[in-house]
Subunit: 407 residues, 2 copies
């Protein structure tokens, strides 16, 4: 029997409130240079410490052993979707990251301006890294002149620097397509083609991309240095079972950055807009407590400072998070999970594969008798080291949402 | 998406050096009789202790929970091949153990001399455990008289005691075959037949085995007590993806015993011959450092003394290994893993299913703050308890050989 089917069959209706707090990239590694402490271990976290005593802990493998996930796979795992089964293309992630509202069937591409010589050879894949302002002007020009190709609507949105996103919204489209990008200078822009040659929908999408090039390139042909563009990660918004149907929970997202709102939207979470700080996010949770059963609350700064390699700032971000935590606890949810979507070790200045620590608290989580929430403590927790996609199932179990299996 | 495909797609070219050191059967169990210490815990290991502080640790399940592996599955797991998916027949393992160079398609059988009565009934399955010398004489006689059966070359090599190996080298052959062995006395030798009745290649192999019996039995009919022989584990060398293609690493093997060289050869590792001691093995690693990216270094004696149930000798073997370790560290690899291929508890005098401890060291392994490398310490390491086939993936991750998965 398929495990997801079993979970569905055993799911009961309850009134429980479940909260997933993601400290993005909070997991870290202990190194000699930092006195063998991680930021989480070095930080003063009296509020999380107080919860730790009554919590179960463990560590979670985001996607698979040794695999470093991006934010997409990292969050899909936390939402209970196997990141290997539910793959989301780069174009889709990029579009979500720019705050675009994708619809099922939309095909999205990461794009960036480049420089072409008179023969159409790519001489600079990043068009001298033009300013965001120039990129915005070029995108506005293209958006004004190319509103449609074939029977599909075209949506263009500028990103940072030379980057932008193109969405094709029409009937009968799908990805993935091969890149319209030679991936190095000295070659012309290749045509994007269907990865699966048998897909009529992908063929149609490839045709639209070709028509888009035909319409758009002449418009910027005289611009310098951005007289061309490349398109990569061309993919459609995948069909993902809705969170509310899969888990029987009304889900909501309280995030600040577009990428995480976009990922939540992919699985059908309501986006609760407005809050800009973690305190405001927790306040919003209090205000919306009765309206939803599941709250995904996203805290970005742990990841950001990990990427910078700034140990002190990552530690301080954890302390600021911890200081705000009592707001959330004014209405203590039935099940609270605090974790990351992946590790972002300061020493590596980037995401990593190291399992993220997780702390799970409910009136039946049991206590692992740990005094703090740390990577090293979590290693010996009762949850063990497990795949992140099971976290939601453990949260549901702690919410007493599962009937007994068998007699 | 298939996980191996994902790993392949994410693999980057690096210049990293990876070293896998296998202390064969090092894992053990703590018992009252030995003061609740394992040999690894009882041994003085200052050099491994020094590494432990900066390492990640965990324990590895060689094949599956409760499964005791032989050396074949044990090592295939360490090389990243699922031992349940890539099964290597006993005949092949035995042939490799005798140092025979198998080719793809060779069918190999474990054989042993037995005693038959006048009606062809097996009266002693081991022919009174004849001396190795007698076995060698009988094998030489058979090898001289039976060089071919059908269109296939026959290769015969004596092992220890009553044991030998037969290889059939011809076109269009495959295993596995059922055993030409009644598995108890009082019955005649059954005919070997194809396990898969639809395989024409296995039928041909079975026919060759029958012809071999027809040719060979008369030659030894008057010998006493070894006037017959049994054949088991009749299998062909399986097609295994080459290590270098699978991982993008140039692999080499520095082992002393033929079995381990044979297993390394199965996946296409270069065999660096010559060294007889662990010090010489480490010296060879230093000499070959620039020529390979991955080194498999095998130390036999921990297993041997475990099989003997000799706690003191196993402990001493660990200490001798540890004393030689500084030679290896003269050129510290980017990633070093020290582990076993399975446990061989002294109290059990044989291989076991107990997870083997593993210590993984790189500049991004992180520290589990463990002062030593021991079974009990490894239980609380950040690697958790995981399947051995993932070790190489973690080594690759630590070598920064994997690109990020998704955006």
């Amino acid at each position: 029997m398929n495990l997801d089917t079993l979970y569905s069959e055993l799911t009961l209706k309850t009134t429980a409130k479940l909260v997933l707090v993601v400290l993005d990239g909070v997991g870290d590694i202990a190194t000699r240079e930092q006195g063998y402490l991680t930021p989480l271990e070095a930080a003063a976290t009296p509020n999380m410490d107080a919860l730790a005593k009554d919590s179960a802990q463990g560590r979670m493998i985001p996607a698979a052993p040794g695999i470093t996930p991006g934010s997409g796979p990292g969050h899909l795992g936390l939402f209970g979707y196997d990141p290997l089964e539910f793959q989301v293309g780069r174009g889709v992630i990029e579009a979500l990251g720019l705050g675009l509202e994708l619809r099922a069937g939309d095909v999205a591409a990461r794009a960036n301006f480049c420089t072409l010589d008179t023969k159409g050879i790519v001489t600079d894949r990043r068009a001298g890294r033009i300013d965001t302002k120039v990129c915005e002007e070029l995108c506005a020009l293209l958006a004004q002149k190319v509103k449609k190709v074939g029977d599909a609507e075209v949506i263009i949105k500028a990103g940072k620097g030379h980057r932008f996103v193109v969405i094709f919204r029409g009937k009968g489209l799908e990805g993935p397509l091969t890149d319209a990008d030679p991936h190095r200078e000295g070659l012309p822009i290749p045509q994007a083609g269907p990865v699966d040659a048998k897909s009529a929908k992908a063929k149609k999408a490839a045709k639209l991309v070709a028509e888009f090039y035909k319409a758009a390139l002449p418009i910027i042909a005289q611009k310098k240095p951005a007289n061309g563009f490349l398109m990569r990660g061309i993919a459609h918004q995948p069909e993902i079972p809705l969170f509310k149907d899969r888990y029987g929970l009304r889900p909501s997202c309280i995030a600040v950055y577009p990428m995480y709102k976009g990922l939540a939207q992919l699985v059908g979470m309501a986006k609760l807009e407005g809050p800009q700080t973690i305190s405001e996010q927790f306040e919003r949770y209090l205000a919306e407590y009765d309206n939803f059963d599941y709250f995904f609350i996203h805290f970005k700064y742990t990841d950001m400072y990990g990427e910078d390699g700034n140990f002190a700032a990552k530690k301080q971000a954890i302390e600021e998070f911890d200081a705000a935590l009592p707001i959330l606890l004014r209405k203590r949810p039935d099940v609270l999970a605090i974790t990351g979507d992946h590790s972002t070790p300061c020493a590596m200045k980037g995401h990593s594969w190291h399992p993220e620590p997780v702390m799970l608290l409910s009136d039946c989580s049991g206590s692992d008798k740990l005094e703090r929430f740390t990577e090293t403590g979590a290693n010996s927790g009762s949850l063990g080291i497990f795949q992140a996609k099971y976290l939601i199932r453990l949260m549901q179990a702690n919410a007493k949402m599962f009937d007994k299996f068998g007699a």
